[in-house]
Structure formats: C-alpha cells, structure tokens
C-alpha cells in the first residue's frame, strides 16, 4: 500500500504519478490522506489499481475513470466519476450534484444520498444510490442504469433517451417524456444483479421502472407544450 499525504504532496504530482503507472504495475494499492475537499483527485486514471481516499473530496473526484477502483471514505463534491468509462467508484458518504454525469461505463455506487442531476446525460454508466437523489436526476440520460433505493426529486428522467431508471421510494414527479414502465421478471433479475454488484441491500421486487415514452424523439408541433 502506497500512502500519499495531500497535506504534504501537491495534487499535481499525485495525479501524474498515478497516470504514469504501467498496466503491469506492482503499485496496485494506494491510500490518499488529508484530501480536505480538494478538487480533481485521482482524475483520468487508466490502470486497474485500487485507490482509497480517506476524507472528503471536492469536484470531479475520479473524473473520466478507466479501470481503477476508487473508494471515497467521506462526502464528495460535484461531478464524482464524471464521464467515467469503466472501473468502480464508491462513495461511502453523500455525493453533491451531477454525480456520474455523462458516464459511459463502469459502476458508481453512492452509499448515501446524491444531490441534483445525478446521472445527468449518462451514456452507459450504472449508478446505484443507497439513499435518495435530487431534482432533475437522469436528465437527458441516454444509456445505462440509475438505481435509487430511496426517493427521487422532481422531474426525474426529463428528456430521457434509452437509460433505465429503478426507484424504490417516492418519485416527486417525472420529467418530460419519462414514464413508468412495466417491471418484468427480467428487469427484477437485472436490478438484483446490479444491487449485488454494488453491495447495496435492497429487495429488487419493491422497485418501479421508469424510461422514455419516446414521444419527443422527433420534433413535432404538437409536442411544443412538453418543453
């Protein structure tokens, strides 16, 4: 285990070191201490390493992650794991806005709550939230899964494309073109797998599924009041 104390080492050096690791590196386990809410910690990782951050982080932690497993033992600011491509990012606490924004792949687990716009514009990432999500979550969500064990704020899935949303609790309101869809056995099985991978305990049969009504896929004058 390599420990980097951000109170002593500049962030730029840490990120550079993590970027320079070859695929066959022996330095596979990293612990980062004293993050003190710094932005852009462990961004742009490319190797399948384990990074544990002890404390709270600022914006874009683990942004654009590829292959790495990043754990935040604390709360995080905006855009955790934004545009993630692969790997796993786990937040033990709560996440602020735009968690997993535009993510293309990988798994983001937020054990606590996530703020507004969780999964905005997601493009294939799987996001599992142990608690609730704020307003406009899954806005323009294109692909992937958003699982919410708690409640969802207003305008869930506004202008959604083909992403799949599962919510166990109350949905304050659905956004434009987002509708409730049938929860089949296949969906329950897929959701159960996701919950298991995410190590979030919940009963897949208690969730409802939401997705696109696909009415806004083509511009048409009769849809003008939907926006």
């Amino acid at each position: 285990m390599i420990t980097v104390d951000l109170a002593a080492a500049p962030l730029r050096d840490l990120n550079r070191r993590l970027h320079s690791l070859p695929a066959n590196t022996n330095e596979r386990a990293w612990r980062i201490t004293n993050p003190k809410g710094a932005h852009n910690i462990a961004v742009g990782l490319t190797q399948g390493i384990e990074v544990t951050i002890d404390g709270h982080v600022g914006y874009y932690c683990a942004g654009m992650n590829q292959r790495a497993h990043v754990t935040v033992n604390g709360e995080c600011g905006w855009g955790i794991a934004e545009n993630m491509m692969s790997g796993v990012v786990r937040v033990k606490g709560n996440a602020s806005q735009a968690a997993g924004a535009t993510g293309h792949g990988g798994l983001l687990v937020i054990e606590g709550d996530a703020g507004a716009r969780c999964g905005i514009s997601m493009k294939g990432i799987d996001i599992v939230v142990g608690g609730s999500v704020g307003h406009m979550s899954a806005f323009m969500a294109q692909a992937g899964h958003l699982v919410v064990s708690g409640d969802a704020g207003p305008a869930l899935g506004d202008s959604i494309y083909e992403a799949v949303l599962y919510v166990q609790g109350r949905v304050a309101s659905l956004g434009a073109d987002c509708i409730e869809k049938e929860m089949t056995g296949a969906h329950q099985a897929a959701l159960a797998r996701l919950l298991e991978q995410a190590e979030i305990t919940a009963d897949a049969t208690r969730f409802r599924r939401y997705g696109s009504a696909r009415k806004l896929y083509h511009f048409h004058t009769d849809h003008a009041d939907a926006y």
């Binding site: 962030l11 730029r12 990120n15 550079r16 970027h19 932005h39 852009n40 961004v43 742009g44 490319t46 600022g58 914006y59 874009y60 942004g63 654009m64 590829q66 905006w78 855009g79 934004e82 545009n83 491509m85 806005q97 735009a98 924004a101 535009t102 293309h104 716009r117 905005i120 514009s121 493009k123 294939g124 806005f139 323009m140 294109q142 692909a143 494309y161 083909e162 696909r214 896929y217 083509h218 511009f219 048409h220 004058t221 009769d222 003008a224």
Partner: protein, 440 residues
Amino acid sequence: MTVDPRLLRESATFPREVLAEIHRAADEGLYYIRGFGTKRKLPTFDDLVFLGASLSRYPLEGYRERCDTSVTLGTRFASKPIELKIPITIAGMSFGALGAHAKEALGRAATAMGTSTTTGDGGMTEEERRSSKTLVYQYLPSRYGMNPDDLRRADAIEIVVGQGAKPGGGGMLLGMKITERVAGMRTLPVGIDQRSACRHPDWTGPDDLTIKIQELREITDWEKPIYVKIGATRPQYDVPLAVKAGADVIVLDGMQGGTAATQDVFIEHAGIPLLPAVRLAVEALQELDMHRKVQLIVSGGIRTGADVAKALAMGADAVSIGTAALVALGCNRPEYVADYHALGTEPGFCHHCHTGRCPVGVTTQIPELEARLRPEQGARRMQNFLTTMTLELQTLARACGKSHVLNLEPEDMVALTIEAAAMAGVPLAGTNWIPGRGGL
C-alpha cells in the same frame, strides 16, 4: 384582366419573405430549422480598409522581404503549446454534420498548410485524427463521444461555451443525419431528431469552469493548451471571466458563424457581429494586461485574406474558418444542379445542410452523395484556398510595412461607415473621428 404594376406596392413591414415565413409557420407550426449562417446584411470587415504605406511608412518588397505568418497558441499554462505556420485554423465541425470525406479533406489540407483542425459535437473519428497533424478536441455540453483517450491524443482542448450562430443554444442534428455510425458515436437511437444540451452538465458559471479547466489539465498532465470558445454576445465580460478561469486561448465566434442545423430565428437574431466583438475582446484582454499572453482566435464570417488581415490588425492572434472552408470544398458550387432543385433551392442560395442531402457531398452521410467529394480533391481545393488567403494576408501586411502579420495594428486601418468606425474603434476615413471616443 392585367395587373397595373404601378399600383403594386410591397409593404416594408411585410415584404414577400416575411409573408412567406408567416404562411410557412401557419402551415407547419414549427420554427424553421436550417444550416449555413446568417443571411442578413451586417457590418463586416468589408467596411474597413488598410491605409498602406506612403511617404510616412515604408512597405516591404513583395518578392524579397519576408513577411512571417507563424503563430504560437497556448503559451500561458500548457507545457506543449501549438505552433501554427499560418494564423488561419479550421473551426470545429462535427462528424455527423459533415461527412467523413469532408472531415478528412480538411484534415489533410490543414496538415499540409501547418495549421489545425477541430473536432465537433460527436467526438473524434479515427480518420480525422489520422489526417490532422494538429487536432483540437472540442469539449461540448452534450459530451457525445467524449473519451479521455481522445482527450489525451488531442493537441489542444476547446471547451465550447457557445457558438456565434446560436449563443445560448445547443446543437441540433435532424434524424436523417443520425445514421448508425453517428448514432453509435453519440450513444443515441438511430434516426432521432437530436437536440444537444446548451449547458454543460457538470458545471455552471466561471468559478466552476476554473475547476473544470483544472480537471482537464490534471487529466492531461498540464500539457495541452485549453481554449474556451464563446459566442459573441458580451465579450467584455466573457473574456475576462474566461481568462480568470484559466484559459490559454479564447475563441470568439461572431454571429456570422455557421451551423449545420439551427432555428432560423436564432441564426438571424442572436449574438453580435464579429466586428465589434473583436474590439471588445481585445480591449478586455488589454485591460487585464493579457493581450498576446492569452491568445485570441476569432471566427464568424471570415472569407478572405483581407478579413484575416483586418481581424489580426484589430488584435486577434489567429482566425478560424468554417463556412468558408465548406465553400472551398464545394458548398454551393453550381454542379449537380438538379439535386439542389430537389431540395427546393439553387446553387448560391443553399442552406440545406440540415437535410443531410448536400448536393456536393460535404454535409451528408449518404454514401452516393458523399462520393461526390473525393478527399484528395477536397484537400487540394482547401489547400489552394488557404494558400490564397495567406498570400492575400501577406500582401496587405507587406503593404503596411509589416515583417510579421501580427504586427498589423488598428492604426493601419480606417472605416468606410460611421457604424464600422464605432464598432471597430478606428477612425472614419478622412477624419480622426471614432464615434464614442471624440475626434473630428
């Protein structure tokens, strides 16, 4: 009964094109979406002229004395700034809006001329990375096809906040252009009418932008120049905010900037022309003592070497061309006229990029149409055009006695109209009057 033409008086408030648009809106109930750029008459660089050398200034000898055109972009923070041989770059245009042949032709020509090309909404294609020595990667609100591997193999990163044709609006690509390949790159269903986001999903405002720029720098180990592209609306505020946020380069796109598909009302009624925008941006940089330290690229209606010379004289470091580049490739050429007619237009009037049925194969994904633009031929035309523009630029710079095109200055020009004098901040010809600044 015959109509007496003396009794026909067209309404100035409701001329025929306004009547026709109201009829169209009443029939269809939807705004008109089209490509190209603004068609209305605007104050432009045509309203400025160079004074040239005289008894009080020496010109340079055209064939003997060097007039340098090189420019370096991204000198503020990037460890690997971009060196261009000419100050004319190719603006961001997406694969999707343009066909692969057009993208490849632009890349080849730019490489041959020592300048850069730019990706667009929808990500980077292998073809354009291969064909472009210097490639700027656009980072857009939609983040379609956004991939950190592409970020790392780009030569610079351009964060797009807005564009001149539609400042405050997002991209659009109508269903006929969302082919399987385009849809795959954007993670969208095939054939939908695609509307891109107009705001970035994970930041709002200049303080967040500062952190976003740092993220991109951290991911790319502080190597790449980071550009911030803004549509020309309030450059006097946007430029200082972009500088404060940490931009290496500012790209300022005037309202004449083109688009593949946007609402006509947006194209014609939002943003300001490039002429006043350049002055406002340069003044803002000078006020911060950042002129030439943060480089300024301007675009939107640049068509000739004279336009380039005037933009540089006003203080820009380089220009970007989009529509003019497409015209060089063949846009609106009088060939395949029947296909223009099938679109309901004529060569010279076409703005039908949004249909995906470009008669000359530039803005299309249909293989038979795309075959009309061979990449080698397109590259040759584009290279010829860039060469011509550069020669024109050097001609004017030499005539003003400049050994480098960046030595051109506002004092080398006068304005032909009061409006242009006020907007560009140069005197009205024959006077020392700059409206708003005194003089006679």
